[in-house]
Amino acid sequence: MSDLEVNVTVNGRPFRRRIEPRLLLSDFVRHEIGLTGTHVGCENGVCGACTVLLDGLAARSCCTLAVQADGRSVETVESLGRVNNLSPLQRGFWEKHGLQCGYCTPGMLMLMTELLRENPNPDRETIRTRLNDNICRCTGYEDIVSSVERAVELMRGDKAVR
C-alpha cells in the first residue's frame, strides 16, 4: 500500500500529510495532527465519542478514512471555546453537569454543535432525539439535555435564566 497525500483543513488550518490509505480519520486527527480531544470508544460507529464535523456534518471519525477527508474541512472539539472563553455549548455543559468522566463529551459537543447550527432553538424533544446518536455511560443523559437547553438560553443572551 503506497501512501497518499491528503490536504485536510482541520479547525480552519490546512494540513498536508502523506498517509496510508487505510488510516482512520480519528487516528489522523489524534495522532497525525495531535488533537487528542476526539476520543475513540467503540471503534464501531456506535458510541459517537469520535464524532467530528466533516464539511459541517457530524461524522464518525472512527469509521471514516482520513483520505475521505481530502480537500474537505474537519471540525473537532478543539475548534470550540477555550478555558477562559468557553462557547455557550461548553458553558451549558459546565453549568448543568452535562459531563462526568468527560470521555464522551467531545463527541456530544460536536453532535450538538451541528444541531444548534441547523436549529438554534430546539425543544427538549428535538435535543433528546438527536442525542440518540451518541452514548454517555455516566450522566444518564438528562443533564446533557438540560445542558443543551442552557446553551440555547446563553446563545439567546438570556443570561438571567438559571
Binding site: T36, V83, E95, G102, Y103
Partner: protein, 655 residues
C-alpha cells in the same frame, strides 16, 4: 459471631462541622473544577499518552472457550516489516509470574495463556509493532493449533465437572473454586422457632460495566535504573499496584504507576493488572515504550467488567408477628475461568447482608465455580447489587405469601433511626440511617397512594399496572479485612483501606493538593478544593489539584464512589488540615503567610503556644479504624524552603 444490634466498639466521630453550620465554601454552588479541561478536549486519557519511539501492541485472542494450545507458528508475523516482537504464553512465562489473585490458595492466571485457553478472548499472543495497524496485520499471520476441550458453560453443571472439563486440574479434580459455609448468629435455632418460612429459587444473570473508554497502559522500561514506568487508567494503582511488580518479577520499588483520567469505570477499572503487565512485558521485550489499549472486543471478552452470575436458594424465617428473624441461603456463583478477587463480592454482600432490616441471624453456603467464561471483575456494586436483589425478592415473597402490605412490612422490620449505631449479624456496624423516613419520602415523591388508586381503577378496566417497592441499604466503603474473613487462611497482605492526600502551600499562598487516587468521572478535585479552601480560608481559585504516582503518593485505596467523596483523599485533606493546629500545617503556613491568612491561623490555634515555634515539614501515618498523625522529630527546624507538605492517612473498618 456478633449478636445483632449489640455494639462492640463504635468509633468516635471526628467531625467538627455541625449539620446547621454555615460554611463559606462547602455547600455553596461551585462549578466543577474538572470540567473545563474536558470541555476543551484536554483531558489526559491513556491514548493521549505518547512517548518517544513508542511501539504499539495488539493481542491475538482465543476463539475457543476451552482448548489446549498445541503449537503457535509466529514465523510469518515476525517477518512482517515493522513487527518488533511476537510474545507467546511460553515467552511471557519466562519473564513474568502469575497475575495477582486475592484468593487463597490462588488460582493461576497468566497475562498470556500458557498451555491452555479457558475462555473466548483470552490472550494467546501479544504482538508489538511500529504501529497498531501493523500489529493487527501481524496477528492475522499467526497460526495457532488448538485441541478443543469440553466446554462448561452452566454453573450447576460445573459443580459436577470431571476430567478434561476441569479448568484447573492442578488445583483439584473439579470446578469448585471454593465451597464455604458461614454462620452468623443462631440460624438453626431461629428457623426451628419460626412461625413462617418463605423459600424462593432466584437467578441473577451476569452483567458487565461498559465504560466508553477501554482499559490501557503505556509502559516504558529504563535499563539504567531497572525500573518500569506504567501509565494506566486503573484506580487501585496506589493500593495494590505493587502486585503488578510481582507479576513482572521485579521488586515493588521498580514499578512506578502513573494515574490518568479514566473514561468511566463502573468498577471495571478498579484493579488493572492485565493491561499494565502486558504493556510492561512488551516494553521490556521491545526495548522501547509500548502502548497497549484494549479494543472493544478485547474489553468485552477479557476485561474485568463482568459482574456476579448466581443462583440462590433462599429461606426467610419470620415470627408470628411477621418480623423477620433469620435468613439463610445457598448460592452458586459462576466466576468464569479465574478467581482474581476470590469471594470478594460475597464479602461485600456480608457487610450489608440484612439490608435495612432487623434480621438476627444469617447463614450462607457459597459455591464458587469455574466455567469457560471471562472471569468476574469488580462490576458496579461488586456484590451489593445482587445481595440487595436477593433480600428484596425474598422480602416480597414473604409479603405475597403472607398477604401483607409491602410498605407496612418494611416499616415493621426496618432498623429504626434511634437504634443506630447498629451491628448486623456479620459484625458490620451500620453507623446511621433513617430508613422509614427515606421510604416515606420516596413514596410521597412518587405519589404512591395515588398510583395505588390508579392501579385499582385500571384493574376494573382490565388493565394491569405493576407497582414495586424496594428498600436497599448499600455500603459506601470497602475494607480489605473481608479477605481475611473469606479465606481459610489470610491470603491478602493488606489489613485496612487507607486513603491519603498531600498538600503543598507555596510562598505566594497558592495550594496544590495531590490526591493519591485517580479521577474517573467523580469530582475529587472539586470536593478537595472546597474542603481545603473552607479550612484554610483561601479562595478556591488559589487551589489546584494533581494526582500522585506510586513513587510519590502514600497508599490510597481507590476513591470509589462514595469512598472518594466521603472518605478518601478528600477526607484526608480535611484530616491533614485538622491535624494543623497540633502539628504542621497551620504552623507551617504561619511561617510563610502574612496578612489575613496568618491572622486566621493565629486566631484559630488557641492552644496557648506560639505557632511560630512549630515545625513545618512532612507528616504521615496510619492506623486501623482511625488515624494517627506523626509529628516531626524534635529539634527539626524550618528550612528556607517556601514549601510545606503534610499528609495523613485514614483507615476504615467495615465488616
Amino acid at each position: 459471631m456478633a449478636e445483632a444490634g449489640k455494639i462492640h466498639s463504635p468509633p468516635a466521630g471526628r467531625q467538627k462541622e455541625r449539620p446547621d453550620q454555615r460554611l463559606s465554601v462547602i455547600g455553596t454552588r461551585m462549578l466543577r473544577k474538572e470540567d473545563p479541561r474536558f470541555l476543551i478536549g484536554r483531558g489526559r486519557f491513556v491514548d493521549d499518552i505518547s512517548l518517544p519511539h513508542m511501539a504499539h501492541a495488539a493481542a491475538l485472542r482465543s476463539p475457543h472457550a476451552h482448548a489446549r494450545i498445541k503449537s503457535i507458528d509466529k514465523t510469518a508475523a515476525l517477518a512482517l516489516p515493522g513487527v518488533v516482537a511476537v510474545i507467546t504464553g511460553e515467552d511471557a512465562a519466562k519473564e513474568t509470574g502469575p497475575l495477582p489473585c486475592f484468593a487463597n490458595p490462588p488460582v493461576e492466571q497468566r497475562c498470556i495463556a500458557l498451555g491452555k485457553v479457558r475462555h473466548v478472548g483470552e490472550p494467546v499472543v501479544l504482538v508489538v509493532a511500529d504501529t497498531r495497524y501493523i500489529a493487527e496485520d501481524a496477528i492475522g499471520l499467526i497460526k495457532v493449533d488448538y485441541e478443543p476441550l469440553p466446554v462448561v458453560s452452566d454453573m450447576m453443571e460445573a459443580i459436577n465437572s470431571k476430567g478434561d472439563a476441569v479448568l484447573h486440574p492442578e488445583r483439584g479434580p473439579d470446578n469448585i473454586a471454593e465451597h464455604r459455609n458461614y454462620l452468623f448468629g443462631p440460624v438453626e435455632q431461629e428457623f426451628a422457632q419460626a412461625a413462617h418460612v418463605v423459600k424462593r429459587h432466584l437467578r441473577w444473570a451476569r452483567s458487565g460495566g461498559q465504560p466508553i473508554e477501554t482499559c490501557g497502559a503505556v509502559a516504558s522500561f529504563d535499563e539504567g535504573s531497572e525500573k518500569f514506568t506504567i501509565h494506566v487508567n486503573g484506580s487501585m494503582y496506589n493500593y495494590i499496584g505493587f502486585t503488578v511488580a510481582t507479576a513482572l518479577k521485579v521488586a515493588s520499588h521498580q514499578v512506578n504507576l502513573v494515574p490518568l483520567d479514566a473514561g468511566g469505570s463502573f468498577g471495571s477499572k478498579l484493579f488493572l493488572h492485565k493491561v499494565a503487565v502486558l504493556a510492561a512485558l512488551a516494553a521490556r521485550a521491545a526495548g522501547r515504550p509500548v502502548k497497549y489499549i484494549e479494543d472493544r472486543i478485547d474489553n468485552i471478552t477479557a476485561c474485568d467488567n463482568h459482574g456476579s452470575d448466581r443462583t440462590y436458594d433462599v429461606e426467610l424465617a419470620l415470627d408470628a408477628n411477621h418480623r423477620m428473624t433469620a435468613l439463610r441461603y445457598k448460592v452458586v456463583d459462576d466466576y468464569g475461568a479465574y478467581f482474581q478477587y476470590g469471594l470478594g463480592t460475597h464479602g461485600n454482600g456480608f457487610s450489608q447482608t440484612v439490608g435495612p432490616y432487623k434480621i438476627r441471624a444469617v447463614g450462607a453456603e457459597i459455591y464458587a465455580v469455574f466455567t469457560n467464561k471471562c472471569q468476574q471483575g469488580a462490576c458496579r456494586g461488586f456484590g451489593s447489587e445482587v445481595t440487595n436483589f436477593m433480600i428484596e425478592r425474598i422480602v416480597d415473597a414473604a409479603v405475597d405469601e403472607l398477604n401483607l402490605d409491602p410498605v407496612k412490612f418494611r416499616h415493621d422490620n426496618f432498623i429504626k433511626p434511634e437504634e443506630f449505631p447498629y451491628q448486623i449479624p456479620t459484625g458490620n456496624l451500620y453507623d446511621s440511617g433513617n430508613y422509614p423516613g427515606a421510604l416515606d419520602m420516596a413514596l410521597q415523591m412518587l405519589d404512591y397512594e395515588g398510583w395505588r388508586e390508579k392501579q385499582n381503577a385500571a384493574r376494573t378496566q382490565g388493565r394491569y399496572v405493576g407497582i414495586g417497592v424496594a428498600s436497599c441499604q448499600e455500603k459506601g466503603v470497602f475494607s480489605a479485612t473481608e479477605f481475611w474473613m473469606l479465606n481459610r487462611a489470610p491470603g491478602f497482605a493488606l489489613t485496612s483501606s487507607p486513603e491519603s492526600a498531600s498538600i503543598k502551600i507555596d510562598a505566594t499562598g497558592k495550594a496544590i493538593i495531590s490526591l493519591h487516587a485517580p479521577c474517573w468521572g467523580n469530582s475529587p478535585e472539586t470536593v478537595a478544593t472546597m474542603v481545603l479552601a473552607e479550612q484554610l480560608g483561601i479562595d478556591p481559585a488559589d487551589v489546584s489539584v494533581t494526582y500522585s504516582d506510586t513513587d510519590h503518593g502514600l497508599p490510597g485505596t481507590f476513591g470509589i464512589g462514595e469512598q472518594a467523596e466521603g472518605d478518601s483523599g478528600i477526607g484526608s485533606v480535611q484530616d491533614i488540615e485538622q491535624a494543623g493546629d497540633q502539628d504542621t500545617l497551620r504552623a507551617g503556613a504561619y511561617e510563610f503567610f502574612d496578612g489575613k491568612f496568618a491572622e486566621l491561623i493565629d486566631d484559630e490555634s488557641g492552644d496557648g503556644e506560639s505557632n511560630q515555634d512549630r515545625t513545618p515539614g512532612t507528616c504521615s501515618g496510619s492506623g486501623a479504624g482511625g488515624h494517627q498523625d506523626f509529628a516531626l522529630p524534635a529539634g527539626m527546624r524550618p528550612s528556607c524552603s517556601s514549601s510545606l507538605s503534610a499528609a495523613t492517612q485514614r483507615s476504615h473498618s467495615v465488616g
